[in-house]
Amino acid sequence: MLEGPDINRALIRIAHEILERTKGAEGVVLLGIPTRGVQLAARLAGHIEQFEGAKVPVGSLDVTMYRDDLRLRPARALGATRLPADGIDDRVVVLVDDVLYSGRTVRAALDALNDLGRPRAVQLAALVDRGHRELPIRADYVGKNLPTAKSETVKVYLNEVDDRDAVVLIKKEGA
């Protein structure tokens, strides 16, 4: 659905929007949700630095221990949580995820943030919004709105982990 250049353009636009909304990214911290949110956050920080010369702290936030569906599947391995050295207290935290779907990951992330500090504000950036929200959650920055059926799967590939940049819509067999 999206190729490398499309992803790049979307991220550049999101970076501009973050700069605009936060008036120059003052006090902004980007937190990527593993696994691919982390790389997206790093890319966004790169773009922001390129445009304004402002270095934005980047971190990662693993939400596994806060998920509400843990008991539906066997215990899974944890991702990394790395907060910037100055923490997140009184910062504007922008959560970065690859796909926004039910909103449950974001809910878990909000709970996790609660235990880590008290940000001034929390915003959400997603590369793809595929709809079907199950919670009252919306993204502040969206790369691409992708109408999907619930039977389909959206998969994001990134150079850093998958050796290619692409967003692919997979139709389930027999669905």
């Binding site: 008991r71 066997p74 991702g79 235990d115």
Partner: protein
């Protein structure tokens, strides 16, 4: 991962690494201001201790509480056990109370294995007789990996009362799985029968082994389990097998000194050595909580597995 953790031999290399990696991520929780995760909310962990233990019980309790589980402490003293209740009846009582996991310490080797056939929840072995103590081995491996970078090919020397040590047995098994080379050093009287079948080397000369060790683990001389004279005197034992400053000097500069605790200072380990910068003894306690959180999460955090399912 299996449903129970009874022996270090139950863990494949992948399982063991998953536990260590999970612990690595959970270590940060102990440094946060809010030292709590909601993961095991509504789950009940029973600490069933038939033998005295302070650090292991507290460690399991802290780990379960940091994951928001409810903890029930059951010690044999002053309980129905002192009135003659059998292990099976105790197990059925716990079962009726809805325990999701039972952490058991028992003086009889094999008690956790037996218990596992009676309860539906997970059974975690917190030390059974002279058999095994798998979470101790995991926390030791975790401590070594954090300090030495990796375990593959590292040389670990375990010294002392191997005969009575469940820590030694679990460590030999786990370290073997993780690719470390283990050497046991002990007086011949304190080595178990058939030790030559264990996946490790055996030596009687501590001074010869020390210069080639990346970590030296001192075992406590377990007087309470000794019903015969295993060595002539404490003084002689400590001269031949105790870790004193002279022996510490023979070890490589970055080699670790470990002890599972509780220590007999002046017996198997000199006070100066126990308090030296190379000793990881306090770190091992901190890591104990972390590794037990990882184990509890991996056993209880996901969907309940059916019997036989991996």
């Amino acid at each position: 991962m299996r449903r129970h953790l009874i022996s270090a031999a139950d863990l494949s290399k992948d399982d063991a690494l998953l536990i260590l990696d999970t612990a690595e991520e959970l270590a940060a929780v102990s440094e946060r201001s809010v030292k709590k995760l909601p993961t095991l909310r509504g789950r009940t962990v029973v600490n069933l201790f038939f033998e005295d233990s302070t650090r292991t019980r507290i460690s399991f309790e802290a780990a379960a509480k940091r994951l928001s589980a409810d903890v029930i402490n059951f010690s044999a003293k002053g309980s129905s056990v002192s009135k003659g209740e059998s292990l099976k009846d105790t197990a059925l009582t716990l079962e009726a109370m809805g325990a999701d996991a039972v952490v058991i310490r028992h003086s009889a080797s094999g008690a956790p294995h037996r218990l596992a056939s009676w309860v539906r929840g997970s059974v975690l072995n917190a030390g059974d007789g002279t058999h095994e103590h798998p979470t101790q081995a995991l926390l030791d491996a975790f401590t070594m990996r954090r300090r030495l970078g990796k375990l593959d090919g590292r040389r670990v020397t375990i010294v002392g009362d191997v005969l009575h040590s469940r820590v030694a047995r679990s460590n030999v098994l786990l370290l073997g799985t993780l690719g470390a080379e283990v050497t046991l050093v002990a007086p011949p009287t304190l080595l178990p029968v058939a030790v030559e079948t264990w996946p490790c080397e055996v030596s009687y000369d501590l001074d010869a082994v020390l210069p080639k060790s990346d970590a030296v683990m001192m075992l406590r001389v377990q007087r309470e389990r000794m019903n015969a004279a295993y060595f002539p005197s404490a003084r002689e034992y400590s001269r031949r097998y105790g870790l004193d400053p002279d022996r510490l000097a023979k070890m490589p500069d970055d080699a670790l000194v470990m002890h599972p605790g509780p220590m007999n200072r002046g017996m198997e380990i000199a006070a100066d050595v126990a308090d030296s910068a190379r000793s990881t003894i306090v770190e091992q306690v901190t890591n104990g909580v972390t590794i037990r959180m990882a184990v509890l999460y991996l056993l209880l955090g996901g969907a309940a597995l059916e019997e036989g399912e991996r």
